[in-house]
């Protein structure tokens, strides 16, 4: 784990691009680095926070808003006790009157990402609800702005940023850079916090000629996912 400044990450990206700062201006590199960090955070959840739901529970209130700053809710605690995650349909099938049940909250279910419900609704009110989740990342703007990350995460960001910046080039240069997608996927798969995640496939189009024994045309080769 180390502290990396935007300038340090940028230098690694620039190295990967043969120091071509003219074609890839600083503003674009910074934007792509931030984009890479957002993506990696959504995948790997390296920035997690526990934030109290504003105010306390209200007696018999079912639905609450996720606190600002939580991007992906992961767990909810009521008075320091972890609630069991479930889904609306599961709750509705198990408890016929789940919308009006009251008592000591035991479960929670999301309603999108910005709201959630607790079951049963707190019958007394005044309880403390806390949500833990993947938190929004603060955008790195100035060269001296820093982020606390493991080196392997930085490696992923650099790999991805290179292909991302070369997207505008198209052609062979982009195709070659996009091949690192496979390498990126391999690294990220290990780091991802989502066990159910199935990575999308990425294919390279390759021209074939009659000499290959495949006839003239285009062949798709799986490059990642």
């Amino acid at each position: 784990m180390g502290t990396f400044s935007l300038q340090q990450i940028d230098q690694r990206v620039l190295d990967a691009l043969d120091n071509n700062s003219q074609e890839f201006p600083q503003q674009q590199r910074y934007a792509v680095i931030n984009q890479g960090l957002y993506r990696l955070n959504n995948l790997c959840g390296f920035s997690q926070k526990t934030i109290a739901v504003p105010g306390f529970t209200v007696a018999n209130q079912l639905i609450y808003s996720s606190p600002t700053g939580i991007l992906i809710p992961l767990s909810v605690d009521f008075e320091g006790q972890r609630l069991e995650p479930t889904s609306r349909k599961r709750l509705a099938r198990r408890y016929r009157d789940f919308t009006t049940d009251t008592g000591l909250p035991r479960e929670w279910a999301r309603i999108g990402l910005s709201r959630f419900l607790i079951h049963p609704a707190d019958s007394f009110g005044g309880g403390m609800l806390e949500m833990t989740g993947v938190a929004n990342l603060t955008k790195l703007v100035q060269p001296g702005d820093t982020t606390l990350l493991e080196d392997q995460f930085i490696e992923c960001v650099v790999l991805w940023a290179k292909a991302r910046l070369l997207l505008k080039e198209g052609g062979k240069a982009f195709e070659d850079a996009s091949m690192v997608f496979q390498q990126y996927f391999k690294q990220v798969k290990v780091l991802s916090i989502w066990s159910d995640l199935s990575f999308p496939s990425y294919w390279i189009l390759q021209e074939t000629s009659p000499g290959d024994g495949k006839g003239a045309g285009v062949e798709m080769i799986k490059a990642g996912g």
């Binding site: 984009q35 991007l71 009157d97 279910a109 990575f199």
Partner: protein
């Protein structure tokens, strides 16, 4: 400052080598806006990260109820706070005779073979629930957003919030239809900034590089698609990790 259309626009312009804005005419600004709106609808429809709840009055003898516009499609229906199982016309025909005409307490719902944005309760309701006044009464939508419970008129000019069993109302739950964006300063109210800035531009680029135009580039379209689909996959995985909705 929240993410705006301009953030996505400047990214797309950079990738199309038109850093100053779309002026070459290969893709027009309006095309960009159209693609962006398509991507936003696709993202919210596939992932359900933004969900709305709508509760409306049930009337005796009326089986079909509208699903108001902010809800893209009904995913769940509840009656008096109790889940109704989804069905379809074929299943209903096989199970029940004259189900469209037989009154009773509704146990199922379906939304096929009826007008879009409508749900039909089966059997036809044999009761009228408490009257729920819409915010724009008498104009539709006649119902209230946000909860299974609703505010009802208990005496002239007296409104109280009553729970689902008391109102005996119909509640539909579904993903939100995003507000269409039109200008560079428009925000994305339904989607968190980190998702917008990380994935949405790739959905737009995939469509541009796949379009029948001078910018057609299958390889770049495939790459942009992979980036966009990664976002969809993560958001779907979140749903899975927290318990599938069925």
């Amino acid at each position: 400052m929240p993410a705006t259309v301009e953030d996505v626009y400047s990214e797309v312009c950079f990738d199309l080598l038109e850093d100053g804005g779309l002026v070459l005419g290969l893709v027009t600004f309006q095309q960009f806006i159209d693609y962006l709106n398509l991507v936003l609808v696709d993202l919210l429809k596939e992932t359900g990260i933004s969900v709305q709840i709508f509760t409306q009055t049930v009337q005796a003898g009326v089986s079909q109820y509208p699903v108001p516009e902010p809800i893209m499609r009904p995913d769940e229906a509840y009656l008096a706070g109790t889940l109704l199982e989804q069905s379809d016309v074929q299943d209903l025909n096989n199970r029940f005779t004259k189900w469209r005409y037989t009154p009773g307490y509704p146990l199922r719902w379906h939304n096929d073979e009826i007008p879009p944005q409508t749900v039909e309760l089966v059997p036809v309701p044999n009761y009228t629930g408490a009257f729920i006044r819409g915010t724009a009464f008498p104009d539709p939508p006649n119902g209230q957003f946000g909860d299974w419970s609703a505010s009802v008129e208990t005496a002239p000019a007296v409104f109280t919030t009553e729970s689902a069993p008391v109102t005996a109302a119909l509640t539909v739950v579904g993903p939100v239809l995003p507000t269409p964006v039109v200008g560079l300063g428009d925000p994305f109210p339904e989607i968190a900034d980190d998702f917008v800035l990380a994935y949405v531009s790739f959905g737009v680029l995939e469509r541009i590089f796949s379009s029948d135009s001078e910018l057609k580039d299958p390889q770049r379209a495939l790459w942009a698609r992979a980036q966009y689909r990664e976002g969809i996959a993560i958001l779907k995985a979140i749903t899975g990790e927290l318990g599938p909705d069925d």
